[in-house]
Structure formats: C-alpha cells, structure tokens
Amino acid sequence: MSQPPNQKDISAEETLRRAMDGDVLHRLPSGLMIIRRMKHEWLDQLDEISGDAFARKTDKVRGSKFLRDWTLFEYVRWIAGEVEGLGWDANTSAGEATLNLGRNVGYSKGKMVQCVCIVISSRCIHAYLVPE
C-alpha cells in the first residue's frame, strides 16, 4: 500500500469492483475463496461525518471499515498472502486469526485500529477490523 498503483493494478481493481456483495473476489489454489464484504469497505460519506455519527457507521451492526487505501486489489493480495501461512485449506470448516499490522488499517466503533481478523467459514474468507 506504500507504492502507487500501476495500470495493471488499476485494471485488476476495476475488475474486482464488478463483484457484488458476497461474490467471490479470488479463488486460491487450495480451493478457498476470498469473498467481497461491502459493509467493511470505506464509504465516501464517512469523509463528511465525525463523532457519534462516525462511530455508529463503523459499529458492529454497520460494520468496521477498512481505510480507503485498502482497495479490493490490496485486500485480496493481503489476505491471500496471510492465508498461506495460516495453514487453512479446503478441509478447514471454520476458523479465524487476528493479526496486528503495526499500522493504521481502519476504524471500529469510531476508533482507528491496527488489527485485522481473517475469518474462514465453509471455504469462504473475509476480513474485518478489530480493536487492539
């Protein structure tokens, strides 16, 4: 996320953006699938609110939110890299892992957080933010 995206990345992002909520963004060689979860994506309206309203928009009912620079391309790339190390495969029914990235990644209940929880449920994988 520190490097500017190249044309290939932008094209990949555009392709991923066509996926609907709950659709598969990427299939891993193991058969696991990274799923799009739009409730954890940044919304333009979040730029214009603060305080209690912002906290409500990032609470557990509306979903913690990754920062804007977490594009779907980066989201998929990051999860794919981490899942390899978790040892999950097509026989993994359910599991979760919380990772501290040591940098700001998004908001949960209005507070900036640095931890991400990756969840696998029936071969489907997604991630959300968790407080430290």
């Binding site: 709950g22 739009m38 557990k60 009912v61 509306r62 913690s64 359910a94 929880c117 449920s121 029936s122």
Partner: protein, 140 residues
C-alpha cells in the same frame, strides 16, 4: 382504538435490527454443518463477530435448517447462503447463484418483517449455540 407503534426505518437513526444478527450463514456440506458468523449481543461478546459451527443433525442445526427452509419459501429461492450487508440489509444467494436483497426501507414491509423474524431466530439460535460451546470450552 389501538395505538400506533412507530418503526424507525431511518438508517441514520437507531438500528432497525439489533444483535444478535447473522453476519454470514453457510452450509458446509463436507462437514455436514451450518457455519455461522454472528454479530453477538454485547452481553454475550463485545467482539464484532463470533464464529460458530453447528452440526446439521443437532437440535440447533435442525432449527436453523427449518428456518432456512421458511426463509427460502418466503423469498422464493432455494437459499444456499446469506450475507449481512450492514444495518437491516441482507443478501440471499440461492443454489443456482441467483440473488435476492432485503434492504430497508423495503417496498414490501410485510415481507421484510417476516424475513427479519426468521433471521432473528437463526441469529439467536446461533448465539445460544455459541454460548453453549463457550461454556464447554471456556479457554478459547
């Protein structure tokens, strides 16, 4: 004369749905179980989500199967999985990949409310199963 009970459908106001909420529900054929990601009540867990696996043949599993069948009938599709989209919005995905979305405010309030009742039952069943599993294995 009966009193009118106002229902807040404003997404910027109070929540139309409150935890427990099903964040995601999938049937794991390989393990013959429902896998539920759950948004728990704060009194059960302050985490945003909890994960629970419910054997298909257990009492809770059979209850979820029954409610999923009722949801399928209500929505007119053979439900394979459901995903929470935030607030009172859900997407339902069928075996053939077709989708149906339930968003607030919904044109058919009656359908929405009936679906929410079934979703709330599934969520509560999953939360109870989660609580029971935690009681058995407290050092999670």
């Amino acid at each position: 004369m009966s009193d009118v009970i106002p229902i807040d459908l404003d997404p910027d106001g109070g929540h139309i749905v409150e935890p427990p909420i099903v964040d995601a529900l999938q049937y794991d054929r390989a393990h013959n179980a429902w896998v539920v990601t759950l948004i728990p009540e704060d009194s059960v867990s302050r985490r945003e989500k909890e994960l629970v696996t419910i054997p298909f043949t257990s009492e809770d599993g059979r209850r979820i199967t029954f409610q999923v069948a009722r949801l399928s009938q209500l929505l007119g599709l053979k439900l394979r999985e459901l995903i929470h989209r935030g607030d009172g919005d859900f997407v339902f995905i069928s075996d053939d990949g077709s989708r149906r979305e339930l968003a607030q405010p919904h044109g058919r309030l009656d359908l929405s409310m009936r679906a929410y009742v079934l979703l709330a039952d599934i969520a509560m069943t999953a939360q109870i199963a989660f609580g029971s599993q935690q009681a058995i294995a407290p050092t999670r």
